[in-house]
């Protein structure tokens, strides 16, 4: 699923320029995994999906992996702490999380980029970025959340001892 979303992101979604920016569906993966599988799954999926997309990006290698790991872990910790059982068939919670944590992910990415000196904050189209990406990620979550639930169920079955 990570490979599929990464290739779709690079080959298709990156070309959808809406007010000069494109959605970043990569962040939906750790958010969905954190919601459905907890902090451990969120962080692991975040690292793997971030690492995969970093292979194609001109930004510092590992930066998306770092941000996605943080987002997946944070969503999972929040869900674990509040002891919320997320029903994959009710996607509204997933969309709200996708929008808010994508927003947070973009801010974190921009801030770390500026700190390490690769992308100055003035070189970013803030308004379109912070509106377009969370909105489309919230929409994409409607499809990604059920797929992630299916994916995590398969993984659990495969690793079960019986």
């Amino acid at each position: 699923m990570i490979s599929l979303v990464t290739l779709l992101q690079i080959a298709l979604v990156a070309k959808w320029r809406i007010f000069g920016v494109h959605p970043e569906f990569t962040y939906c993966l750790p958010i969905a995994a954190g919601l459905l599988g907890g902090a451990q799954s969120g962080a692991l999926v975040g690292f793997a999906s971030g690492f995969a997309i970093d292979l194609y990006l001109p930004t510092p290698f590992g930066l998306t992996a770092l941000v996605a790991t943080l987002m997946g872990g944070l969503v999972g910790l929040l869900i674990d702490r509040e002891r919320v059982a997320v029903d994959a068939s009710v996607p509204i919670l997933g969309s709200i999380f996708a929008a808010s944590f994508s927003f947070l992910a973009l801010l974190s990415f921009a801030l770390i980029s500026a700190i390490i000196g690769t992308t100055p904050l003035s070189g970013i189209s803030w308004l379109p970025l912070l509106l377009v990406v969370p909105f489309f990620n919230a929409l994409a979550m409607l499809a990604i959340q059920p797929l992630m639930a299916w994916s995590l169920a398969i993984e659990t079955r495969a690793s079960a001892p019986w």
């Binding site: 290739l7 779709l8 690079i10 080959a11 298709l12 990156a14 070309k15 959808w16 320029r17 809406i18 000069g20 920016v21 494109h22 970043e24 459905l36 599988g37 907890g38 902090a39 451990q40 799954s41 962080a43 692991l44 975040g46 690292f47 971030g50 970093d54 292979l55 194609y56 990006l57 001109p58 930004t59 510092p60 290698f61 590992g62 930066l63 992996a65 770092l66 790991t69 943080l70 872990g73 999972g76 869900i79 674990d80 919320v84 997320v86 990415f109 921009a110 770390i112 390490i116 000196g117 690769t118 992308t119 100055p120 003035s122 070189g123 970013i124 189209s125 970025l129 990406v133 995590l152």
Partner: protein, 277 residues
């Protein structure tokens, strides 16, 4: 929801993943580790056919999506293209005269790179894959002689510089990227300064021009080619669109329009010239 792992195991997993990510970022940001860039280059080469395949299959869907959101803009663009086509037809009659004029202008503008330096024609395969960097990916790489640092030009002027080169593809940082810096000068080399990018949707600016210097609107600026510079001399970078001196400021505020049409980069030329260390 799956039952959560024990807190110690979770803390360990998170710590390891975060430490690994931070290490990769540090290695990459400190001038490019051969391990991280090697990973990227091999992956891009291996997955190029898959990405191209997905692109070919899903491109109509993407065009539909973009068209749905930009219907008005597409109509406007169509009208502009029709008008441009009419002008091109009209201009064909005086083509010979214009060719002669062009040769003269090139000589006047000191564009030695066009005739003196070898170039490789490359096709753009990806544009701006990240929201945080203005880059293009081209289909030529090390096996065609393209290496990191080489300038990339299109018909109008400087497009950017190669920042990563794999066997069969390269990433080019555009002049509009937030971290792009280009040393420029006027054709006679009188005024030397630095052009700074501010992202794909914003104009270039020229830094450090004193208020006392005369910079005219529509004046063209070229790469300065100073010793140790990262571009050869004489590539058109941009045209001054606005020059003003804010009250009390020692420097002018100058906005520059890129010479190359960065919205139409289907084909570009990589200049086989490496910066002198």
């Amino acid at each position: 929801m799956a039952p959560g792992p024990r807190p110690r195991r979770l803390a360990l997993t998170l710590s390891v993943l975060l430490a690994l990510s931070i290490t990769l970022v540090t290695l990459s940001a400190r001038g490019g580790s051969s391990v991280t860039s090697g990973f990227s280059n091999v992956t891009r080469d291996v997955t190029k056919p898959f990405a191209s395949g997905i692109n070919a299959v899903l491109a109509p869907l993407g065009r539909f999506f973009v068209g749905a959101f930009r219907y008005g803009a597409v109509n406007d663009e169509n009208a502009r293209l029709q008008a441009a086509l009419g002008r091109v037809k009209q201009d064909q009659a005086s083509r010979g005269f214009r060719d002669q004029q062009l040769r003269e202008l090139m000589a006047l503008s000191h564009l030695p790179f066009l005739s003196a330096l070898p170039t490789v024609v490359a096709q753009t395969t990806m544009i701006d894959v990240s929201n945080f960097a203005s880059t293009i990916t081209i289909d030529k790489g090390r096996s065609q002689g393209v290496t990191v640092g080489m300038p990339v030009v299109a018909s109008g002027g400087l497009v950017g510089q190669v920042i990563e080169a794999s066997r069969s593809s390269s990433i080019v940082r555009l002049v509009t990227d937030g971290s792009s810096r280009v040393g420029v000068a006027t054709p006679k080399g009188k005024l030397i300064s630095l052009v700074v990018g501010h992202g794909a949707t914003k104009k270039l600016t020229v830094d450090g021009i004193p208020s006392t210097s005369s910079v005219l609107k529509d004046q063209r600026l070229f790469t300065s080619g100073l010793e140790g510079g990262i571009f050869p001399r004489g590539i058109p970078v941009g045209t001054v669109e606005q020059a003003s001196s804010p009250t009390g400021s020692l420097n002018q505020t100058i906005l520059l329009r890129p010479s190359a049409d960065l919205s139409h980069l289907t084909y570009v030329d990589v200049v086989l010239w490496e910066p002198t260390p």
